[in-house]
């Protein structure tokens, strides 16, 4: 029995796993980032969009925006554990660094749920700006950053007392967010402004970098020197040099690319294409398209959706 679990577990640890939400058929496709094959397809709630993954809890959390629920997946067996109904329209998800707390952005009712990531009980709510979308947390767990899409700003929440410590004006309709590894910079995608705001998390000063049409999400490269940004209405990914503070390349991907994440093992970039039902894989070094993987209907994967391989 133990041997079975261990062997089953080891076989899943060769590569990372990308959890791809498929809005159209209410499933999650699991891609082994070592082989770039779909190894599992899991039924979840209605219209899944957001993803958060936990190597500590061995779980993937999926927000089902029309189902008004969160599905929890066992990432060892790649099976659904349960779906938990909440009020509102959950979109953005993020986990505290200790993975004990799950933060859930409720798009419609303008609040962030604070949930126990194991029991899935709601512990608190944070009310802040309008239409909260992307959320990320600092590596010390003290600051939660919220992209308030309809307030055109970023809220910085002190997680100890759940109070707003600052609000930073950005471009129009901020949506996807990412932090660099040491947490000194926050990257904000401004959908209507066709730009990225690069925010210094100490001074809170920001700079604007232009990208393609209707951008959605951003991920830093493994070495932290570049940003990759999905341009939903150009069917492309912009590559931004952080040293040059500008876009240096555009990579054609599938149609209407939304979610984007970096595989920390290989440095490859994974892009969920909503309109062409596939994931594009980009080599993070050469910045070229490597392959496209067929997934489910209307792939989105909003959030950091790749679970790194576990140490042997």
């Amino acid at each position: 029995m133990i041997a079975l679990i261990i062997s089953g577990y080891t076989s899943l640890c060769l590569g990372g796993s990308a959890y791809i939400t498929n809005q159209g058929d209410n499933t999650v496709s699991v891609i082994d980032t070592n082989t770039n094959q779909v190894i599992s397809t899991i039924k979840v709630g209605l219209k899944p969009v957001g993803v958060a993954v936990s190597a500590i809890n061995h779980r993937a959390y999926i927000s089902n925006v029309d189902g008004q629920s969160i599905s929890v997946i066992d990432t060892v067996k790649n099976k659904l554990i349960n779906t938990y109904v909440i009020k509102g329209s959950p979109v953005g998800l993020t986990l505290s660094p200790d993975n004990k707390t799950l933060y859930v952005a409720d798009w419609t009712d303008d609040r962030i749920y604070v949930m126990d990531a194991i029991s899935m009980k709601i512990q608190n709510e944070i009310k802040n700006g309008k239409a909260p979308a992307g959320i990320v947390i600092s590596s010390d767990g003290k600051k939660l950053y919220i992209a308030n899409r309809d307030s055109n700003d970023i809220a910085v929440i002190d997680t100890d007392n759940r109070q707003t410590s600052s609000r930073i004006a950005v471009g129009k309709h901020p949506f996807g967010l990412a932090l660099n590894k040491n947490g000194t910079e926050l990257y904000v995608v401004n959908v209507i402004s066709n730009s990225i705001s690069v925010i210094n998390t100490t001074s809170l000063k920001s700079e604007i970098i232009h990208v393609g049409e209707h951008p959605y999400c951003v991920t830093p490269s493994k070495d932290g020197l570049f940003l990759f940004v999905t341009n939903t209405q150009d069917d492309s990914v912009s590559v931004i040099s952080l040293a040059q503070k500008q876009s240096i390349a555009t990579i054609k991907v599938g149609e209407v690319p939304e979610g984007i994440s970096t595989d920390e093992l290989t440095g490859n970039i994974y892009v969920a294409n909503w309109a062409s039902n596939q994931v594009s894989v980009i080599d993070g070094q050469t910045q070229k398209l490597i392959t496209q993987i067929k997934t489910g209907d209307k792939s989105r994967s909003f959030g950091q959706f790749i679970l790194p391989s576990s140490p042997k």
Binding site: G24, V65, D66, Q68, K87, W107
Partner: protein
């Protein structure tokens, strides 16, 4: 055809620029046309003359004016045979990729944040073209259920499907005529 016009005319709802619902919807239709891609693309890219081939459109008025950022942009007002108008902004017209992109600014379709593209591809046969028409949009109702009748995902999808399914065979007929 009458059904399409009725469907479009039925839904007299204003569009607003505020938050949309959380799940985007998609309608994608394609048709094979026995005509040279260049000929088909010339019809598709003619943004100011949709009435030439779409049976629900009575007239098209083209205008160029500054958008909210001060950039000159191309817009059209479609007056529908069944009543009502649709006001659209040209987002791109690429001769190399034979792709037209546009969005709805306001109008009678029961949709929000609507953007679409029409792409002309060569093939499948020699001298043939394939036209792919794809739109991404949201339902009108932005809040949690219950969703009022006519403002749900199905109403939005049905209206756009009606527009596409009436338009593509008519485009084919025109392109294939001498």
């Amino acid at each position: 055809m009458k059904k399409v016009i009725a469907l479009i005319a039925m839904a007299i709802l204003p569009l607003t620029a505020a938050a949309h619902g959380p799940s985007p919807q998609k309608v994608e239709k394609e048709i094979v046309i026995k005509a040279d891609p260049a000929k088909v693309w010339a019809l598709v890219k003619d943004f100011g003359n949709l009435q030439k081939w779409h049976p629900a459109v009575a007239s098209t008025k083209l205008e160029t004016k500054k958008d909210e950022n001060g950039d000159m942009q191309t817009y059209r007002t479609l007056t529908l045979k069944g009543g009502g108008t649709i006001y659209e902004k040209l987002r791109g017209s690429d001769d190399k990729d034979m792709q037209l992109k546009y969005e709805i600014v306001s109008g009678v379709l029961p949709v929000a944040d609507y953007n679409a593209k029409m792409t002309v591809k060569a093939g499948p046969g020699a001298g043939e073209s394939t036209v792919v028409w794809m739109a991404r949009f949201y339902r009108v109702y932005k809040l949690n259920p219950p969703i009022p009748a006519g403002q749900d995902d199905e109403s939005a999808i049905n209206a756009v499907t009606g527009v596409f399914e009436a338009g593509l065979p008519a485009l084919k007929a025109l392109a294939e005529s001498k």
